[in-house]
């Protein structure tokens, strides 16, 4: 893709020159990575989570994906409350009611500090919250 950009002349370089150079650096870096990976003994494996740890991690990733997807539709407050509720249920043995109450408190405090006081513009729901 970088080569499709105008390269220009040596005394008047175009928009494509730097991306082409960066592409060459990337090729070198990739080769170095492959070379080191090939040289590394197989015993130096990476530590990946297993069992419940892995399940918890996957659930966090799914929750984050849902949170970021829902935010423009449900607004910041509603989506944040739901996200905090579900995340607390995932990380603690607390009941749904207590999680719901804590989530409402957290969302309320953050809403007050950032959106009400500091006027940070965030996506809002049909009822403007």
């Amino acid at each position: 893709m970088a080569t499709q950009l105008p390269l220009g002349e040596m005394d008047a370089p175009g928009a494509g020159l730097f991306p082409v150079l960066v592409g060459a650096i990337m090729c070198f870096a990739s080769l170095a990575t492959v070379w080191e990976g090939w040289k590394t003994p197989r015993t130096d494996g990476i530590e990946l989570p297993v069992g419940q740890d892995r399940t918890r991690l996957f659930k966090l990733i799914i929750l984050l994906a849902l949170y970021f997807t829902a935010m423009p539709w449900l607004g910041y407050s509603l989506s944040s409350w739901a996200f905090a509720l579900l995340l607390m249920r995932l990380l603690s043995p607390l009941s749904w009611w207590r999680c719901g109450a804590y989530a409402a408190l957290m969302t309320g405090v953050i809403y007050f500090c950032f959106i009400y006081l500091l006027k940070v513009p965030m996506p809002s729901f049909a009822f403007s919250f």
């Binding site: 175009g14 989570p49 984050l64 969302t107 940070v120």
Partner: protein
Amino acid sequence: MDALDGILYGLSVAFTFNNLLAALVGALAGTLIGVLPGLGPTAGIAMILPLSYSLDPTSGLIMMAGMFYGAMYGGSTTAILVNMPGESASVITCIDGYKLTKKGRAGAVLTIVAAGSFVGGVISVMGVMLFAPALAEVGLLFGPAEFFALTAGGLLLFSRISGGSLAAGIFPMAIGLMLSTVGQEAVTGQDRFTFGLADLTLGVELVALVVGLYGIAEIMSVVESLQTQVKPLPVKLRDMFPSRQEWSRSVAPFGRGTILGFIFGLLPGPSATLASFAAYRLEKGVSKYKHELGEGAIEGVAGPETANNAAATSSMVPLLALGIPFGPVTALMLAAMMVHGVQPGPMMMTAHPQVFWGVIASMLVGNVMLVILNVPLVSLWVSLLRVPNHIFLPVILMMASIGCYSVRNSMLDVGMLLVVALIGYILRKLEFQLAPMVVGLVLGPLIEKHLREGLFMSLGELSVFYTSPIAIVIWLLVIVVMLLEPLRQLAARMLGIKIKKIIPESSE
């Protein structure tokens, strides 16, 4: 304006109400960020970066600087109390700090750390006051070729010194440089790699990259190993007083740590982390009590903690004097300055003296605040460690999304948080260094600018980049550092000479 006039002017700027408040908020927020696991100084500063845009540039930068050295202090608290470093520069503090906690000396050690951080910070600020203007004057001699050597060579050096193998630094650096090419090109206005998305015209958002890489990826690691959360023992105010012997044994490490930290802060690389490791090695080599190091010696805490604070402070010199960030935090500060229309570099001292001297003088004030507030407030910081993960993790994630969205009201940036976090999590598992990616993203446009300027001015003559004496010295230095590890291996293989590794295994 000479250095003395500058200091006095800077103090007059730093002592205004708004700037005092910014330093206080920054120091406190930094300590909080350092204390809480899952949120290092880089991610914390990235999250408040958009808020700093609403302040004037001096106050915004004072707050960010306060957060940086505040986090250096806060990170050591968790290292000492629960054997869990709040940020990478405090890793080495765990060894002796936690052993001293087990001996019932936690309070005294925290006081020594506060005193050491203060000494390191204050003396380093004085060094910055004297050194930054001198370096800025040298910087006036620099043209595009010298700046190209400094930015491109500095990035290469940074990637190599960041830790791990060659690929561990170079590969993320290349990703960072690639990301820096996304968006509208500065000279011709041509869109590059935007895929028709209007939000990408302004390029990849630094806040999204940093919060994703350092904040959310770290939270993923915390969630993954949730069962290992350790609760600290309470620290009472009456336990905060070190003994006379502890004070006297700390004086020399304070001095050595300050000098070492100041020097490391001027170099490319994760200066605070490298400085703390080097200070520990130095104590192991020269301390009268070196035989006790590793078993709970106060020197093993005093030296590294002084060094990392001194390095955090002096890392401002290359940023303010030359406009070149040698680490992710100073890269964020550069981004904040750019937004405010302040161009750091040799001309900053004359074009924006208020920002230049104000930020430097505020570090003096901030360090005093830090020591006054943190020793009595240690019980508060300790109690924060007892806040369960299920409370503070949702709060951090909600704040991260606010911080990211508010930069340019883009949901694309928020979505990018997750993508970047996944990439960061995987890269960290594979033992890649993440800092070169951030610095690559920030330095990429500067490298391109100096490259193009150099080619324009020399009418396409490539030799311009390697004929000036300053550029030659910089490139020689880069080549020497890049060849250190292969030469070490060659010496070991051919001549049987064993030299200790110069580049650390990891700095993150």
